[in-house]
């Protein structure tokens, strides 16, 4: 198709030299009528070539650092390498192993539990904040917006480091607080509280980001709707619940999706806190931590590739289908 079009365009471009130059120049009308036609065709080729030229760097990077790694990981994941048997093709044995592997499954269950509690809490807080700053235009609201968003600019590693210090059972301020409240010593890095403590770090880091996204969506809504609601006697709370929240539901779904994806990949915070709580945060604490340790501690590259690929591919296919459906609905081409 494209070759054919380029071919005919090239033919059209080659045409002018055949036609007598005199005629082209002599008769103004003939020159005018021929000019645009050949010009348009050759410019279409140029147009296509320019498009391809501009897109090529991206295409190459896309192939090299998205398609190829996923493809290679998939290929590796279908093989098994043992000291005795050597390297051989084993179909889906690694995936089979993963779904009966207690370590992998418990990590997955932990991340799921984490998500079920932390995600609604954080998005609820973000939504509350967004509704507040949308309703109240005060200077305090501005400070509020900036302060909540600020942790987003901090590297996750440093966020986790700071909270690691703050959680410290020996000198952290959280300890002083629980003592002051008469709760005695509370070990925030213990087995029972670690997931909560990690949830607090993630909430601190990401609430503001989600709030700004939701706030932007709220700001995009037509103001007349609120006026109408106000005339009907709706207070700010009713307006928020009945009008604003339903109208930003697509932004909410989007933040939810990004958050679920991030939670599935949970890695940095547990990895950073591992040195101060090594008995609690085991090498298989989250699926991604497990994949990392399989590759770099135990050199089980094939099995690690299977878990990485499963985590990445599920996200890719899932979000693609989701976006495809959402794009259809919103009409964005």
């Amino acid at each position: 198709m494209s070759l054919l079009r380029q071919g005919s365009a090239a033919a059209a471009a080659a045409a002018p030299p055949d036609t007598p130059v005199r005629r082209g120049r002599g008769t103004v009308t003939a020159g005018r009528s021929a000019g645009p036609r050949t010009g348009r065709r050759s410019s279409r080729t140029r147009h296509q070539l320019m498009g391809l030229f501009l897109i090529t760097p991206f295409t190459l990077l896309f192939l090299a650092f998205l398609v190829a790694p996923l493809g290679y990981a998939f290929w590796l994941s279908l093989r098994t390498s043992t000291l005795v048997g050597g390297d051989h093709f084993s179909w889906f044995a690694n995936y089979q192993q993963a779904f009966t592997d207690h370590q992998f499954l418990s990590g997955l269950a932990r991340v799921a539990l984490f998500g079920v509690v932390q995600i609604p809490l954080m998005l609820g807080l973000a939504l509350l904040g967004a509704l507040l700053i949308d309703e109240v235009g005060s200077r305090l609201a501005k400070v509020f917006r900036m302060t909540l968003f600020m942790p987003y600019a901090v590297p996750a590693v440093i966020g986790a480091l700071m909270w690691g210090f703050l959680y410290s059972p020996t000198f952290g301020p959280v300890q002083s607080l629980t003592h002051a409240l008469g709760l005695g010593s509370v070990d925030l890095l213990s087995h029972s509280l670690m997931l909560t403590s990690l949830g607090n770090i993630v909430t601190w880091q990401w609430t503001g980001y989600n709030m700004i996204v939701l706030y932007a969506a709220l700001q995009g809504l037509p103001r007349e709707v609120y006026e109408a609601a106000k005339l009907d006697g709706a207070g700010p709370v009713q307006t928020a619940l009945r009008i604003k929240i339903p109208m930003v539901s697509s932004a909410l779904v989007l933040t939810l999706m990004f958050t679920i994806i991030g939670t599935l990949q949970f890695f940095t915070e547990p990895r950073v806190l591992r040195p101060i709580a090594s008995s609690v945060i085991t090498p298989d604490y989250t699926p991604n931590l497990y994949a990392y340790n399989l590759a770099f501690q135990y050199s089980e590259f094939n099995y690690s590739a299977a878990i990485s690929f499963a985590l990445g591919a599920v996200v890719f296919v899932g979000s693609y289908l989701f976006l495809f459906a959402a794009r259809r609905r919103s009409g964005l081409k």
Binding site: T59, P151, V157, I158, P173, L254, F267, F324
Partner: protein, 301 residues
């Protein structure tokens, strides 16, 4: 207001009651906001306070208040000289990674986003559909597979291993595309072409100046993304001379724990964290508009 004055008694009290209810609500809202501000600021406050303490004071004095004599100058000197000044090297590495990846990713995203918006070429729809899926794939999911692939071509444990994968920024492409569609009319480009400008001239002299806000946003997000990245360099790099700040600080922290007790490394981790986030906070405060620009597109489309 005027109606309240004109019609006496009943409406006025009604009005007052309503006003009281509203201001009560406002007080609650303000209390909630102040409480949340304090909570979100607390770690920053702690970091600033802790950075002024020496190692003994860090562990023995109240965590959220200053202790005199402060030792911030001494801490900074230690930070920059410890282990042959490896912190400065990490900072240099981070600047290189963030700078090269940021500029490169922005250039790639600009060309691609512009091409998606203004050109038709073979494979365009297929590529754009895959782009939408790619936006969702988090970089962490790709790090280990990319490591396995790059180790085949002996590129791991080099600066390229961190820079090259960071050049791919599907969201940046998407953002530029949306921005071009919304703010760059075809007529403008067509007029330049009629005036005899070639395609590249049109791009550089007509399109790019209009796209500047979008480019700053993409640059900001790419640079900060690379500056903050942890998993990719952690996976790729073995040689601690190539570490960025995130991986370096984490290695200090882990090292301090191994040696246990009141190790001087803890102070360095604290001061090092503060120095590492200062440029980010500055960029954040000065470039607010561009941050929000990127997120607005994300929320609406």
């Amino acid at each position: 207001m005027t109606t309240a004055v004109a019609t006496p008694a009943v409406p006025a009290t009604h009005h007052a009651r309503r006003k009281a209810r509203v201001s009560k609500g406002r007080v609650t809202v303000n209390v909630v906001m102040v409480a949340m501000i304090l909570y979100f600021l607390m770690p920053f406050w702690w970091l600033v306070v802790a950075a002024t303490k020496n190692n003994d004071a860090l562990f023995s004095t109240a965590a959220l208040w200053f202790h005199s004599p402060g030792s911030i100058v001494d801490n900074l000197r230690q930070l920059f000289t410890y282990n042959d000044g490896e912190y400065l090297r990490w900072m240099g590495n981070t600047v290189v990674y963030a700078g090269v990846s940021g500029v490169g990713a922005t250039a790639v995203a600009t060309f691609a986003g512009y091409a998606f918006a203004k050109y038709r070429f073979p494979g365009r729809n297929l590529l754009f559909s895959s782009l939408l899926g790619a936006i969702m794939v988090p970089a962490t999911a790709l790090a280990i597979p990319t490591y396995l692939l790059l180790s085949k071509v002996a590129l791991t444990d080099t600066m390229w291993a961190v820079i090259l994968p960071s050049l791919l920024n599907p969201f940046g492409v998407y953002l530029v595309r949306v921005y071009v569609q919304d703010s760059l009319p075809d007529e403008l480009l067509e007029a330049a072409r009629v005036d005899g400008a070639g395609e590249l001239r049109v791009l550089f002299n007509v399109a790019l100046p209009t796209l500047k806000p979008a480019l700053v946003t993409v640059l900001l997000f790419s640079m900060v993304g690379t500056w903050n990245n942890f998993f990719l360099p952690l996976v790729m790099l073995n040689n601690d001379k190539l570490f960025p700040l995130t991986v370096g600080l984490q290695s200090w922290y882990a090292g301090a724990m191994v040696q246990s007790g009141a190790n001087a490394l803890f102070t360095l981790v604290v001061v090092g964290s503060l120095v590492a986030i200062l440029p980010l906070i500055l960029a954040f405060l000065l470039l607010q508009r561009y941050w929000r620009g990127g997120l607005t597109v994300g929320s609406l489309k």
